[in-house]
Each structure stands twice: as structure tokens, then as C-alpha cells.
């Protein structure tokens, strides 16, 4: 389903306004040296005060803070905190399997995934981060105009039934956020996560599922089809399959969880029947790493 850009952005803005600006925690700084508003907890180039230290050999006289030094006999140098912006890269599943909702009152999984991703992106951009997509379509940038670009890029649908994660173009030591139903083949997913972890990228996995995918409330003779109609499965007694289906779903979730633990990522499963704010809140905490 194609959501009009303005509408998507508006609803994402609404979600984003409920949170304080998100200051993504950056543990590693390498490569990206763009000045931002994030204290790196070490002295460096920046605007915010960090600490006074006694004058050492090699410091120029210009660096002496005379106001502080005037209060005693020693000379002090005023150090500033090293501030830097971090890159966050998103991957949002736009495959056909996401274009599904079991009830007319529920949003499709794709809509929910886009909403949560864009809301998170807005929070991050407000916090001074640079946000973009994985791959080379939209590299991380900051500024409000980027929100527009993100929204526009998000409104495109992919053709294939279950799309594969895009792990190319991931900036080393950046952060990433993958939003999908993760119902497709898990091997590319594994590869992508491993590759990202190799580059020191940490991030979150958000699995978006429809309530029927969680409960499987079907009975009787049924032919199940994927949204793209590439896959089909016929059963005479849908009710009998429930147990085994749920078991497989649980296995998949466990595998994703395991995978994310291995790579230092965080995993969360979100249902379209729940509030989008729950998902955003979780993403906020996960990306922030518990530091306000």
C-alpha cells in the first residue's frame, strides 16, 4: 500500500513529538568525525564545557582560562567536550508480505513498520544524529530535509514476496535498525547481521507481526497463499496445523533472538494490534542504551 508522503510524515511526526529528543549513545567513534551535539565524555572540539586542568607544557598561553586562573596561583586550561554526530542506518522491509492486515481496522505490517522507523528517524535527527538507509540509496544525513527524503523513500513498495535485508554500504561503527516481519529466509539475514557485527555496527531488530500470524485462528479446509501469490499451501484441517505453526514461529523468534545476542544487537517483536508508541518507546530505549 502506498501511503501519501505527507500523511506518513505527519503521523510519524505525531509519534515523535511524544518523546524527548533522543540522544543516541555512541560507543565507538571512528571514521565519522562530523561535529554534533553529542558529548563523547572526553575532551576535544566542542562547545560545551568539559573540565579545567592545570596548564601543561605544550599548551599555548591563549588556551589559559584567565578567569579561573585569576582565583589562584595556578594556571588552568578550560577543556571542552568532544562532540560528534553518529550515523544511524535503517532498513525497512517493503516486501509484499508486509502488505497484509487481517482486519480492516488494523494497519498493514508495512504501514506500522514505516511509521515506527520514520518516528525513530525523526527522533534521531532531532537529537542531531544523521539518519539514512542501508545500501547506497540514501546515505545518512541530518536536517529536516532528510526526514522528507526518508519519508519519500519509505513510501516505495518492493515487488518480491519476502525481501532480503540490505547490508551493503553500512558505515563502520554506526548504528542500525532493521524493521521487518522476518518471515523470509533467515540465511541472508544472518549474513547481513554478521557482516554488520564485523564492522562494529550495533542495532535493533524490530519484528512486526499481525495478530493472526501470532494466533493462527483458522479452521477447516483452507488454501493459504502469500501476499505475492508465489507460495501456497493447502490443508484440509487448518485447525490441526495450529500447534506446529506456533512452534515454528517460536523457533524463528528464538533464532532471531539468539542471533541478535551473538552480534550484540537487540530484538523485539511488535504486533500491529498494539500501540505504535510501545514499539517506538522500546526503540528509543534500545538506541539510547539507557542513557538519557
Amino acid at each position: 500500500m502506498i501511503t501519501p508522503v505527507a500523511q506518513l510524515r505527519q503521523s510519524a511526526q505525531q509519534e515523535a513529538t511524544r518523546f524527548p529528543a533522543l540522544l543516541a549513545r555512541a560507543e565507538q567513534l571512528a571514521g565519522t568525525v562530523l561535529l554534533g551535539e553529542h558529548g563523547r565524555r572526553r575532551s576535544g572540539l566542542g562547545d560545551d564545557f568539559w573540565q579545567y586542568r592545570p596548564l601543561r607544557a605544550g599548551d599555548t598561553y591563549r588556551s589559559i582560562d584567565w578567569r579561573r586562573s585569576g582565583r589562584g596561583d595556578e594556571q588552568y586550561v578550560r577543556e571542552r567536550e568532544w562532540q560528534i554526530a553518529q550515523s544511524v542506518q535503517l532498513w525497512v522491509d517493503t516486501g509484499a508480505s508486509m502488505r497484509f492486515s487481517s482486519h480492516k481496522d488494523l494497519p498493514t505490517k508495512g504501514d506500522r513498520a514505516r511509521l515506527v522507523a520514520l518516528a525513530a528517524a525523526i527522533l534521531l535527527i532531532r537529537g542531531g544524529e544523521r539518519v539514512g538507509f542501508t545500501g547506497w540509496t540514501l546515505p545518512p544525513r541530518n536536517g529536516d530535509i532528510q526526514i522528507l527524503r526518508l519519508a519519500e523513500a519509505l513510501s516505495k513498495d518492493a515487488e518480491e514476496d519476502y525481501s532480503q535485508p540490505e547490508a551493503r554500504g553500512i558505515i563502520p561503527h554506526a548504528r542500525a535498525m532493521f524493521v521487518s516481519d522476518f518471515l523470509g529466509d533467515l540465511a541472508p539475514m544472518e549474513a547481513a547481521l554478521t557482516k554488520a557485527a564485523d564492522r562494529g555496527v550495533r542495532g535493533v531488530l524490530v519484528q512486526v507481526l499481525d495478530p493472526t500470524e501470532e494466533s493462527f485462528p483458522f479452521k477447516g479446509r483452507t488454501i493459504f497463499e502469500s501476499v505475492g501469490k508465489t507460495l501456497a499451501h493447502e490443508t484440509l484441517k487448518a485447525g490441526d496445523l495450529r500447534e506446529r505453526y506456533l512452534q515454528r514461529l517460536a523457533e524463528r523468534k528464538a533464532r532471531l533472538e539468539h542471533l541478535s545476542r551473538l552480534t550484540g544487537w537487540q530484538f523485539m517483536c511488535h504486533h500491529t494490534s498494539d500501540s505504535a508508541q510501545n514499539a517506538l518507546l522500546w526503540v528509543y530505549r534500545a538506541m539510547d542504551g539507557g542513557h538519557g
Binding site: 482486519h103 518471515l183 477447516g220 502469500s226 484440509l236
Partner: protein, 929 residues
């Protein structure tokens, strides 16, 4: 046809189809339900899963049963089941058949059922090829045996007559019976009567007799009686049984002249009683208007009773010259009249001008000498239309110059000055007694008690006409009572007082008898046949057998003696007959009518109407099959899960339908909403003074009215201490009006007429001090009252409103000075035709005052055509919306229009405050006087 118990089948062989049901069961069980295709992204996880059980879900047994039941219902339905099928085997006969019908009023109540039964009988006779003849005992004609089909075609034309078959009718019928043998079928009305036996015997001689009787309980209404100020109604019934209540309706013309039910009351038969009574206390006006009483729902001439003059009581107006309210009661000129009349007539009290419009039968003037000119003309007119003016002498009459030199039109004779007194302490002679009444006097034949004496009287002038006019005189030949005819009425003068001052006549029983003879106190009771010899009575309205009252048309008159004694028949139909002075009713049922069930010999079989009706069941069964199949559709959908998506709505609807609760909850919700919206309306309307306009349904006009009132409200806000809030649109049907001091009502020819409830609300509004400003908005093309479409509509709209007499705004109306001093009331047009409530007729200009002291109240309506709203209207920025006139003159006109609006609102809010004389000096100063 095959018959199984009460069931018959037209196509019983189709029932073999039921044998196929077990086969169907097996087949249906074997076929799995069709698969559903669903989109499900989780299909990935299902790939490779095998079904444990290779057999599909079976259709559940109850669904199979449902389907089989549906099929069974179809099969049985097509087999043509009939409940209580007609049994053709009985009473098959041969030879000619004579159908004898009583066809009296008592068979009218279930005439339709009788026709159906007769039709069935004739159709059977048609099948059996029997010749049939028909004879109605109430109107016997020689039977003529013919094909049943011919008779069947005539069936609908058969009607009952409003009388019973009497001896004469039966004798005539007997003489017409054919010689040959035939079977008879007697459709009896169920009442016992003497004329039955000879007829039955004659019929039995010719062949077998079968009697048909309806089990229906017959009720009949007796003529109403008038006793002790109440109308007594009696009803009788044929079979006394359990307690039962019937409803009796009094029909008549309502004040608007339309036929209506004027009174309706229940009459109760006690258990086991065959007679019930109803005591109706009715106002005289209502009683006089009732033209017939009727048992509700009983279509029979016996259930209708026509009252003649017996229900009417005369209306007598008593008027005394000067009634000394604090005097002794026994001295009151009217005391003895009251006593003599109060039991028999309706007495009207009040001034002459007030009672004249009520058109009383008699006006009594006790010692009244002079009448106002208006009164005199009114009384004369009333006299000429047939009124009776009864005058009594007295001191005032004796002292006046009334009818002294020339005869007063309202006095029968000329009077000599003074009168005379005899037998008193200061006079010679004995008190005079009465002479026997002369021949031709209305009092002729009354016994004169010896103790009636006259001590004073007024004396008549000897005149050529005097002798003809005396109807009672004293023993010395002086007139005591004189009478003169005026037009159709008469003037009667008692030459003595109405109290015991001048004579002992009012104390005697003779006085009452004399009043009776003058046809003042009571209508004569039902006359004796002897009294009616030689008179002719013309039928006015007659009853048909069903009790419908029809115009008598050109029916011939009936001799008086026959009217009372003869039995009802084609020559003397029940109905209302008009004689010279009064009307008489002949009712079907009278006091002497006895309702007793007819008794038939045991040899005669009696059939009734209560035979179970033949009912085809096929339709019901097929409908049941469709219902079952529908249930199957829903159940199948539910089973296969396809109902899931629609569950919230469909399930709710089904549940609500099942509980029948949908309407109640919906209604309650709607009610709650409406009451809360009414509250909001009331709050909005009462927070501040609020002007309002009536919604006409013309959007543009309503908007203009709204804008106009807003303009006026703003003007009021700026210039006066009245600070109205935004005006409101009022829907007469739904909104409460009491909150608004002023309603602006623009008239369009197309607006709907309010409902009676809305009119009641409007009248309440007007009576409780509200004002309506009617605006026909056509003063440019039509003067007020001219027949413009708006003018006609206004007249139509305002007709049911309680509007007082109107007049054009007089120069000194308080509306001209409540705030501004105005003489014109222009709006968009400047016609001077603006009408308000007329000033009271006694308003006079007091010397030295510029204004009359006029209306004490606010005028309830102001009517004009100046399109004020257009002149007041402002748009949202406060600029005038409609162009008025041209240039400065137009703006001046708009200003005056605003001033009129201000004055109007001030008038509504302050009433006649400015009518007080307090401001007169200042106003005089302003006016330059």
C-alpha cells in the same frame, strides 16, 4: 385428496420423496466443504507441514439435519398440505334448494361471514347442479329456482334490512312458497320471534330444513333516556355470559361542523346479566350536538340509537332588572323562576349581550324596563328567528314609560301609567283571583287553585288588538298574561312580578304548569298516538341495515299515528322524522325489544360459523424451507470461518434482532440525545435576551431573517440597555417558544402549515405575553389584505391562532414612543399598513392628554409587509446586506427601520410602561406642543 387426521394432501405421491432423505444424508456427509483461499504471509512457516488426518472435516450433523429439514419442508410443501380440509361427503343433496334468510338488522353484524358461508353453500350446489332460490324474509319476493351460479353473481348485492321479519312479512312469504318439494337452508339471525314457527312448519312440509346460525353474541343499544341531568344508555345482549365491556360512542358534529366522535365511554355487562347501563354526564352543549349513539365495532342497525328532541333541554336565560346582590334571596325577582325551572332546563346567567350569541330558547326579563339600543336590535332579531321572550312586570316596569304611548316591539301590549293595586291595606276591594282560561289560550284546561290571588298588576291600554292577545285574565276581566307573535317567536308578558310581591301566583303549582304550557320549562314527553292523528312526519335521516345513517332523500312522509304504532318496514324505516315543531326518532331497538335466542326443534340440524377454516399450509412450509436454507447459509459461513471478518457487525445485528432490543436502545439513545439537545437549546436561548425567527424552509430567507435579527440585536446593543445575544432560528414543531420575547415570522407562500401541536404551542406563547411579528414582505406590490400569495398564506397560517381584533397602528399607539418617537414603521418598503391589536372600544381621549390610555398589554401580533429583516440585515462584517431605496434617503429609511425594531423590542420588554402619563410633559415638549 388424502386426509390424515386434520391434514389433507392434494398431491400425496410427492411425499415419497421423503424416502430419498437418508440417501441425501450419506451424500452430503461424503462431500467435503469447499476450501477457502486466504492470504497469509505466515504461509512460509506452513510449507512442508502434512495434515495428520487425511479425511477432511465432516459437515457437522446438525448442519446436515438443517439441510434435510429444509428439503423435507420443500417436499411436504409441494405435496399441498391443507389443514382442516373441506369434507365434501356430508349433506350432499339433490333437488331444488331454497335459501331463506332472515336478513334482519341482527344479522348485519356478521353479514360478511354469512355471505362467505352462503357463497360456499352455493358453490357446492353449483357442483351438485341443484337449482337454488333465495328468499329474504324481511323483504320477501317469490322464490324462483335457478342455477346457483346466477345467484352467486348477485350475492354481493344482498343486504340486510334494518327491521325484523314480522308477522306480515312471514305471511307474505308463506303465500309465495312454491308447490313442489324442496330442501331449505335457513340463515337465521338467531333471535326468537313469534313469526318463526309458521315459517318453519311450512318449510318442513316441503322437505328437509337446515338452519344456519352465527354463534356471535349480539348486542343492541336502546334509545337514550334523559334522567336527572344524565344521559342513560342501556344495552342488551343475546347471550348473557361472562362480564364484558363494550364501548359506546356518541357521534355528532364538532364545533367546526365536521362529523366526529364527541364522547366515548365503556359500558359494562355484569357476569350473567343480559343488560348493561351507562350513565353519561355530558355538558349541555355537547349533548345537544350528539346525533347518534353507537356501539363501537358492531355494524348493525340495532347497535345505533338516534336521540330525537328527548335529549335536548331548553336553554333559558334569566335576566333581572337590578338584582340586589345583598338583598334577601326570597325577594329576588328570579328566585321562583329558578326554582320552577332548574330541574327541567339549562339556565343561562349573564348579561343580555353575553347570552344572546348562545341563542337560548327563552329569555326571561324580570322587571326590566329599558334595553340598550344594541340589545334591543339583537333581541328583536333573535325573536324573529323563533325565540320566546318572557317578561314579568314589576315596580321598575310600572314606573317607566315603556310601551306607554306606542307599543314597544318587545311588549305585547301598551301599558297604562302606574298600574293598580287592589286588596291592599290602602285600597278598596279584595285581592283578585284568576278567571277560567279562555278558549284557545295555551293554558286552557288547567285547574286554577282557589288561593291564587293578585294584589298588584300593570294595566294594559284598551286596544283593538288587546282581546286577541290576552291569554289569561283576572276575575274582573283585566289581562294577567298577554302574548304577541313576532316573526316566528313570541313575546309573553306576565302583568305581575316574578316573585311573590304582587301575587301568590309564583308560589302555586299553577305557575309551573303555565310555564310548561308556554313550552318554556320542558319539552313534552313522547306524544300519544292520539295527539298525532292527522299530522305528517317527514323522514330526515334513516338507518340502513348496517346502522349507517343515510339521507332520507325523497322518501315519502309518514302519518303521525303510524309513526308511533306501526312496525318498522319498508314504508316506515328507522330514522329521524321531522314534524312541525319537533322531531321524533324511530329506533330499531326499543324498550320493548327482547333479545332471546331462537329455539329450534331437535329434528332441525343447526350449523354455525365456527367451523374451522380450510387452511393451505404449502406456503408456510415453503417459507420455512427458505428460512432453514438461509440459516444453513449463515451456519456454513460461520463453520468455514468466512463470517469472521463481518462478525462484529453481523453478530451484533443478529443479537440485537434476536433480543428485539435494537429499537429500544436506539430509541433511548435518540431520546437522550434529543433531551440533551433541548437542554442546550434552552440554555442558549435563556442566557441572554434572544430574538428569534421562525424557520420557513426557504434557506435564503431564513438566512436573511437571521442576519436581520443580528443587525437589530447589534443596534440594540449599541444604543440601548438591551444586550441581546445572537438570534436563533426556531422550528415551530420541535423547539420551545417560551424563551423568546419576540418571534419574527416572514411569510412565504410555500412554507408548510404548522401541526396542531405547534399551533397549541403558538397560542400558549401568544397568551403568555409573547409577540409575533408577521412580515409578508410584499408591501411594494400589495397593500395589506390584498390577495397577494403571501397575504393569503398569512391568513391561512394565522387562522388557527388566537389573535384579537386588529387595527392599523393608531397615531398614539405606545409603539410610536417606546424608545424613539416614530410615526412610520418602514423596512425595506415603507408601507403604512402595519396592524396591531385594536384598542379597547372604550378608550377615549382624555382632555388635555395627547394620548389615549390604550392597551394594557403588549400587542400579541404585529402584522405588516415591509420586509423589515431585509432592512436590518447585516453581513458578517456588519455592513448592510440589502440595498434600501437610493442614496441618503435609503439610509435614512434604514435608520428608521432600526428605530422601529428598537421600539418593537422595547415594547415587548417594557409593555405599556411608556403609556404611563409620567413622561407626558417631556414628550409634549419634544412634540412642540
Amino acid at each position: 385428496m388424502t386426509v390424515l387426521g386434520p391434514l389433507g394432501f392434494t398431491a400425496p405421491w410427492l411425499l415419497l420423496g421423503l424416502l430419498a432423505l437418508p440417501v441425501l444424508w450419506v451424500i452430503l456427509r461424503a462431500v467435503p466443504p469447499a476450501p477457502i483461499r486466504r492470504l497469509f504471509p505466515g504461509v512460509v512457516l506452513l510449507l512442508g507441514l502434512k495434515d495428520d488426518d487425511q479425511v477432511t472435516d465432516r459437515t457437522p450433523w446438525w448442519l446436515l439435519l438443517l439441510r434435510l429439514l429444509a428439503v423435507a419442508a420443500v417436499i411436504i410443501g409441494l405435496a399441498g398440505p391443507i389443514l382442516n380440509p373441506e369434507d365434501d361427503s356430508q349433506s350432499a343433496g339433490t333437488g331444488p334448494l331454497l335459501v331463506v334468510m332472515d336478513a334482519s338488522w341482527s344479522s348485519a353484524a356478521d353479514w360478511r361471514a354469512r355471505q362467505v358461508a352462503l357463497d360456499a353453500l352455493l358453490s357446492r350446489a353449483e357442483r351438485e347442479a341443484r337449482p337454488v332460490a333465495l328468499m329474504r324474509l324481511t323483504d320477501p319476493e317469490a322464490p324462483h329456482f335457478q342455477q346457483a351460479a346466477v345467484l352467486r353473481a348477485r350475492l354481493t348485492g344482498l343486504e340486510p334490512e334494518p327491521w325484523e321479519p314480522g308477522e306480515a312479512h312471514v305471511a307474505r312469504a308463506l303465500s309465495m312458497l312454491p308447490e313442489e318439494d324442496f330442501d331449505s337452508y335457513w340463515m337465521s339471525d338467531g333471535l326468537a320471534r313469534a313469526s318463526r314457527d309458521p315459517m318453519l312448519n311450512a318449510l318442513m312440509e316441503h322437505g328437509q330444513v337446515t338452519v344456519f346460525e352465527s354463534p356471535r353474541n349480539l348486542t343492541a343499544l336502546l334509545p337514550p333516556r334523559f334522567e336527572d341531568g344524565h344521559v342513560q344508555l342501556t344495552a342488551r345482549r343475546l347471550h348473557p355470559g361472562t362480564a364484558r365491556e363494550i364501548s359506546i360512542a356518541g357521534h355528532g358534529l364538532d364545533p367546526a361542523g365536521n362529523p366526529a366522535v364527541l364522547v366515548r365511554a365503556p359500558l359494562t355487562f355484569a357476569e350473567g346479566a343480559s343488560e348493561g347501563e351507562l350513565d353519561l354526564s355530558l355538558p349541555a352543549e355537547l349533548r345537544a350536538r350528539i346525533t347518534r349513539f353507537e356501539i363501537d365495532g358492531a355494524r348493525s342497525a340495532g347497535a345505533v340509537s338516534l336521540p330525537d328532541d328527548s335529549l335536548r333541554r331548553r336553554e333559558v336565560a334569566l335576566i333581572a332588572g337590578n338584582e340586589n346582590r345583598e338583598g334577601l334571596e326570597l325577594l329576588s325577582p328570579l328566585y321562583y323562576l329558578h326554582k320552577a325551572l332548574q330541574d327541567d332546563v339549562d339556565i343561562l346567567d349573564g348579561a343580555l349581550t353575553e347570552v344572546l350569541p348562545a341563542n337560548p330558547d327563552v329569555i326571561v326579563l324580570a322587571d326590566v324596563a329599558t334595553l340598550g339600543p344594541g340589545e334591543e336590535a339583537g333581541v328583536t332579531e333573535w325573536l324573529e328567528k323563533g325565540g320566546t321572550l318572557l317578561r314579568f312586570a314589576g315596580p321598575r316596569l310600572a314606573a317607566s314609560d315603556l310601551s306607554r304611548d306606542r307599543e314597544d316591539p318587545l311588549m305585547p301590549v301598551r301599558l297604562r301609567a302606574g298600574g293598580r293595586s287592589v286588596g291592599g291595606a290602602m285600597s278598596w276591594g279584595e285581592p283578585k283571583s284568576l278567571a277560567p282560561f279562555p278558549e284557545g289560550s295555551p293554558f286552557e284546561g288547567l285547574t286554577i287553585p282557589a288561593d291564587v290571588t293578585v294584589t298588584s298588576q300593570v294595566m294594559a291600554q284598551p286596544d283593538p288588538t288587546l282581546a286577541d292577545r290576552v291569554i289569561a285574565q283576572l276575575s274582573d276581566g283585566t289581562p294577567l298574561v298577554t302574548r304577541k307573535r313576532v316573526g316566528q317567536g313570541q313575546v309573553v308578558l306576565f302583568h305581575v312580578t316574578a316573585n311573590a310581591e304582587w301575587s301568590s301566583l309564583p308560589l302555586s303549582g299553577l305557575f309551573v304548569q303555565m310555564l310548561e304550557r308556554l313550552a318554556i320549562s320542558a319539552m313534552p314527553a313522547t306524544p300519544e298516538p292520539g295527539e298525532l292523528v292527522g299530522t305528517m312526519w317527514q323522514p330526515i335521516r334513516v338507518l340502513d341495515g348496517f346502522g349507517a345513517v343515510v339521507d332520507a332523500g325523497t322518501l315519502p312522509g309518514v302519518p303521525g299515528e303510524a309513526l308511533l304504532t306501526e312496525a318498522l318496514g319498508p314504508e316506515l324505516r328507522p330514522g329521524l322524522y321531522q314534524g312541525e315543531e319537533r322531531s321524533l326518532a324511530r329506533n330499531v331497538v326499543t324498550e320493548s325489544t327482547v333479545l332471546e335466542p331462537a329455539v329450534w326443534p331437535d329434528t332441525v340440524p343447526v350449523e354455525g360459523l365456527n367451523r374451522p377454516q380450510e387452511t393451505p399450509l404449502a406456503g408456510w412450509l415453503l417459507a420455512l424451507a427458505i428460512a432453514l436454507l438461509l440459516a444453513d447459509v449463515i451456519a456454513s459461513l460461520a463453520l468455514s470461518g468466512r463470517l469472521r471478518g463481518a462478525r462484529p457487525t453481523a453478530a451484533t445485528v443478529l443479537l440485537a434482532l434476536a433480543l428485539g432490543a435494537l429499537a429500544t436502545t436506539g430509541g433511548a439513545r435518540a431520546q437522550g440525545a434529543s433531551s440533551s439537545s433541548a437542554d442546550a437549546f434552552a440554555e442558549a436561548a435563556t442566557a441572554e435576551v434572544t430574538l428569534a425567527h421562525v424557520v420557513t424552509g426557504d434557506t435564503q430567507l431564513d438566512e436573511l431573517a437571521q442576519n436581520g435579527l443580528r443587525g437589530l440585536s447589534e443596534t440594540l446593543y449599541y444604543r440601548t440597555s438591551v444586550e441581546p445575544s445572537d438570534p436563533m432560528a426556531v422550528n415551530l414543531e420541535t423547539d420551545e417558544l417560551a424563551f423568546f420575547p419576540l418571534l419574527y415570522w416572514p411569510i412565504t407562500p410555500s412554507q408548510p402549515t404548522p401541526s396542531p401541536a405547534a399551533y397549541a404551542k403558538l397560542n400558549d406563547y401568544l397568551r403568555s405575553g409573547g409577540m409575533i411579528l408577521f412580515d409578508t414582505r410584499d408591501a411594494d406590490v400589495a397593500g395589506f389584505g390584498a390577495a397577494s400569495p403571501e397575504g393569503r398564506k398569512l391568513r391561512e397560517l394565522a387562522a388557527p391562532l388566537d389573535i384579537p381584533p386588529l387595527e392599523p397602528v393608531p397615531q398614539d399607539h405606545v409603539l410610536t414612543r417606546t424608545f424613539y418617537l416614530l410615526q412610520d414603521f418602514p423596512g425595506r418598503y415603507s408601507s403604512r399598513d402595519v396592524w396591531v391589536e385594536a384598542a379597547p372600544p372604550d378608550a377615549e381621549l382624555v382632555e388635555g392628554m395627547p394620548f389615549r390610555n390604550l392597551n394594557d398589554n403588549v400587542t400579541p401580533v404585529v402584522i405588516g409587509g415591509n420586509d423589515w429583516a431585509a432592512a436590518w440585515a447585516v453581513d458578517s462584517r456588519g455592513n448592510p446586506q440589502v440595498r434600501i431605496g437610493s442614496g441618503f434617503a435609503g439610509e435614512r429609511q434604514r435608520e428608521i427601520a432600526y428605530r422601529f425594531g428598537v421600539n418593537l423590542v422595547m415594547h415587548v420588554l417594557t409593555g405599556n410602561y411608556k403609556s404611563d402619563q409620567v413622561h407626558v410633559p417631556a414628550l409634549l415638549d419634544r412634540l412642540g406642543n
